[in-house]
């Protein structure tokens, strides 16, 4: 099974030319006499030679590869981003190397460090504290970050979470809801923005907000927090969740506790993951345009790599998606 992988030297020898010639031929850097080209092509063909990208990268400093690091490949929001990024990268001849960091946040730095040296640029979705963000710049690679940064030192792509949450809340207020709850995930950088949007809107209408905090942005946590929220004295009549996953979990648990959605409580999520379509009732949500975020981030990265000028900050506008999980109380 140990086929000796041929090197450029083997090929050169077999074809009776120099390694430089092979190199130039492979990369199309230069043309040669038909006789030589034919010979080279033939030898390469029968030896099954492929240039070693590592050696190639080491000298050119280019890998035609970009890294994309996400928090959880299991979350549809992130996989949509991946889809978008992938499409753009492929169109430009780049390969995307995906890394899932959530399994072990402690290893994130090591992971990114390792990845950064193997790619031409990085797109990062991270929960890293701002202090460590400095460190990212030290990687000395073109880099695009997801989310709003306090001091915008890195090129970023972000959704307008505050606005999305505000819009959703505004809608629910208009529908006549009075007792609001927000199921958040405070470990996320964006939780604050979303909760802020909800609060700001409620404040403007003189309404209160009860906040619940999940340990993970998952359906399971949504289920877990449900009984706490619904079985106290006077449950809320409108719930905005940090994301759709949590909303899905909540709805299931609420329904199995005997509550009707949206009759007893309106539920809304954020992300517009595709599975929100398949629940009963289907989930009202805020579309953050995940895929478009992936596209924008990859375009920005590729521009940076190519030395093209780019906007340092792209904000993607949210959009309300109204479905059956919210009702009119007027």
């Amino acid at each position: 099974m140990k086929k000796n992988i041929p090197t450029i030297r083997d090929v050169a020898a077999a074809a009776g030319v120099s390694t430089a010639t092979i190199s130039k031929f492979i990369n199309g850097t230069q043309r040669f006499s038909p006789a030589v080209e034919a010979r080279i092509a033939e030898v390469i063909g029968q030896m099954g030679y492929r240039s070693n990208p590592l050696a190639q990268s080491m000298i050119t400093g280019k890998t035609k590869t970009v890294g994309l690091s996400v928090l959880d490949v299991t979350n549809p929001h992130f996989t949509s981003i991946v889809k978008g990024a992938n499409r753009v990268a492929q169109a430009h001849g780049y390969t995307v190397l995906l890394v899932d960091t959530e399994e072990n946040p402690g290893r994130e730095q090591a992971l990114l460090e390792a990845l950064s040296r193997r790619v031409d640029g990085l797109i990062i979705f991270s929960r890293m504290p701002d202090s460590e963000l400095e460190w990212l710049a030290g990687l000395d690679k073109p880099l695009v970050f997801f989310g709003r940064l306090p001091r915008m030192t890195l090129p970023t792509v972000a959704s307008d979470d505050h606005r999305g949450a505000y819009m959703m809340t505004r809608h629910l207020v208009t529908l006549g809801h009075k007792r609001f709850a927000y199921m958040g995930f405070s470990k996320s950088r964006r939780d604050e923005e979303r909760m802020g949007g909800v609060k700001e809107c409620l404040a403007a209408h003189g309404l209160e907000l009860t906040v619940y905090d999940a340990a993970a942005p998952s359906a399971q946590e949504g289920e877990r927090l449900c009984s706490e929220m619904m079985l106290g004295a006077g449950h809320p009549d409108a719930l905005v969740c940090y994301n759709d996953l949590m909303a899905l979990g909540f709805m299931k648990a609420a329904q199995s506790l005997g509550f009707r959605i949206p009759a007893d409580i309106s539920v809304a999520g954020v992300d517009n993951i595709v599975y929100g379509n398949y629940t009963s009732p289907p989930l009202t949500t805020v579309d953050l345009h995940s895929e478009r975020m992936g596209v924008a981030a990859m375009e920005k990265l590729l521009d940076t790599i190519a030395g093209r000028p780019t906007e340092p900050f792209t904000l993607i506008e949210p959009q309300l998606i109204l479905r059956g999980s919210t009702a009119n109380r007027n």
Copy 2:
């Protein structure tokens, strides 16, 4: 922004030792006098030196990195596999580089080719025709393949799809269903096995099967095929889908056409994706133990890389998950 990344030579010079010493120190290959070690550590620290993994890999031939190629990161079945594989890899100090091939099957070979030279081994989920499988072996890398192979030339991990489908069908027959339909996805290697399981069971009970074929293993296709299946003369009373995604789509479409599930038709999927829990009714399915498959594949790969002996073939047993989308007709 252009920090000159320090090389081993810079460090050696600054520390007043040779590059060889630095190299050995970094890799812990050898110990040195406390004085020297302290000096080196200090210099490395303040220069922020990190060895270049490319150069390192080029010479050692090891990357401490493995590639995992999946058909669609958007499909929960695959992301579960990723989770499992990731966990094992990290536990062994390996980094997983994930690649999504479905966007462009035509580019799959190029993608794998590129990836293979950058990693110590590969785990591949592919729709590649058997003829091209040969080519994979030619990559000359430790490699684990998902699915049953005709001529088992590669180490593989597979679910027992035939058995799972048989079990599910058996259960539906026992429940008293008479008119069976199978919604397949013939482009997949596993479709045949699943359909075979269904057919074999039905044949044993003298029952017929109507087959529908989807263009993609997606919820959207499930929705699309629904009207065709349900609005003809005499619709089926039991449907087994190639996967849960298709089942989800079908259920939604059927319900919006006014059918009740499972009263009018029992629906079952395969994969046991988490979202099957959040539909109404929740989806009956066959758990293929995706995550366990990822674990098994990664263990097998790591064993191969380390030169440890391994079973060439691992079969993961399926398990029936009974939920509300199937009913008793007796």
